[in-house]
Amino acid sequence: MKKFDIFQLLKILIPIAAVFLALLLGSVLLLFIDVNPLEAYRYLIFGNFTNKYNTAEIFVKSTPIILTGLAFTFAFRTGLFNIGGEGQMFAGAMAAVFVGLKTGHLSPFLTISLSLIGAIIAGAIWGLIPGFLKGIFGSSEIIVTIMFNYVALYLISYLVDKPLRESIGFYPQTDLIGKNAFLPYVVPNTRLHIGFVIAVIISIIVYIILWKTPFGYRLRAVGFNPDGAEYSGMSIKKSIIISMAISGALAGVAGFTEINGIHHRLLDNFSKNVGFDGIAAALLGSANPAGVVVSSILLGMLQTGSNSMQRGVGVPANIVSIIQAMIIILVLAGNMLRPKLELYMRRKEKVIE
């Protein structure tokens, strides 16, 4: 029993130690520019909790990361690398804006549901194409999804420049979507919208699909052992295409929450890097939905905390990105090294006993 506890504790201790180490390295840079590291890190860690608004921002930030994280997780569990979460989110956003602009006059329930459905379909299509190319031609889904990120980016750039440009024709952005299409806020006087709740519910659904249904079992079986699965009569091609479509749909929902919950219009280059944050969240959360939710919230904390550190003591953006990169690297490294450490400790223990 006692030994077991130590190993459980390690699961928490190692990431904390990794963060600590990253901060220690960052403090060298901070000292270099005459910023007191303790003061800076006080903002990084506690800066979010000074008031309700900032605390809510953590969850605002983590909402799209959860969804793109789930997208990566779903594909990953079925043996695929979907690096296109960003592009699929953009696709979802395009659809959500389009629906929001056209149906904004309907009742909130109707227009929001339609936006969500639109985003799901658009994201699914953006994921389905690479899945199809992988299934039929064997094209690397890693590459096709990366390329599709760029295509989506420029497509948005075109849409806001020409066909969907705001009606007064000035800035390259769309009009605001109808007020009824705005996601309702969960906590008053903050930006925390219902998208977060939707993201958490979706994570539960993903868990149930993957682990509690025969359908999910089949998809995972293909990912786990393609040859064996094919032998037992499953269609790998079909499985790949379906997985990628579902994965894309999940990321598409992130576009919906960002548009209907935060921006309320489409603009160039919105919500940058959310797709890649999702991959990091999925890996930090060992690619299971609960883990994704937790690590997305942690990433949300890291980002809002970094902003708060930047505001509080004037830490330049470049040090913020160095510290963020170090934290991601070291936490993941800690995760990878933990089994080795455990093994080593167990052996030692045996020797002593």
Binding site: L133, S140, M147, S157, A333
Partner: protein, 310 residues
Amino acid sequence: MKDIFNITFLIALLSASIRLSVPILFAALGGMYSEKSGVVNIGLEGMMLVGAFAGVVGSYFTGSYWIGTIVAVLSGMLIAALFALITVKIKINQIVSGVAINLLAVGITSFFYRALFGITTVPITVNAFSPVSIPILSDIPIIGEILFKQTALVYIAFILVPISHYIFYKTSLGLNIRTVGEHPMAADTVGIPVEKVRTACVLISGALAGLGGSFLSLGQFNMFVDNMVSGRGFIAVAAVIFGKWSPTGVLMASLIFGVADALQIRIQMSGVSIPYQFLLMFPYILTVVAVTGIVGRTTSPKALGTPYEK
């Protein structure tokens, strides 16, 4: 558009294509070494950025752009060493590691630039390469104009193609690299040190990406500006796949991207009514088309992306 087949236009287009393809070629050749050994390197972008910055710093303090270039190569290798440590040794997911390396590179270059030179409205300039005409060859009509009136780094990039080809297909080292990328287990059984080979290949990719970066800052300019690589590292990743993991293929892919970009600029200038965003999309769609097998089926190294566990 009527002067498109005019010979001066063609020469200008092709020499622009060469200039635009060289940074991609350097990084893509590097990426190829890494991927051949089984390591996906999304961090090329960051490694190029570090190279671009280090090259300027080296040239600034020594006054020699050649030393600057060497500093760029070494710095590229340094950050690649970190990438190798976390992907090959610790075995963190290669894609996320690459993304983290890029984030790190943006931060580090900007931090040290400001630490050294402060915040400026006019950038610091250093000694840099100027074009070298190769005697005799540069007198060949058309081809001489396009190929042999470039900077030294351009020639180095092109020489690296046959050298890489030789290494991969004519030496035992190349065979070892390919074996490690295809069947690491088999490689291990016959005594090839899998992790060492992969580390070496990642280091080579860092060195070449660093060269690519220094081509931008010292070969095309004489300065460093924040984030000057602007996505060329990602295009290089695409070029590796488009080029089917072979040196000549990578060369062709880089050239095609270069031509696409040079053409894109000129099409936009000619006032054709295609929205420019679609022109910018072109290289990426081209890559998708390429990997769908229209240019022949692409087969990646079998162990690409998977760390080797004994």
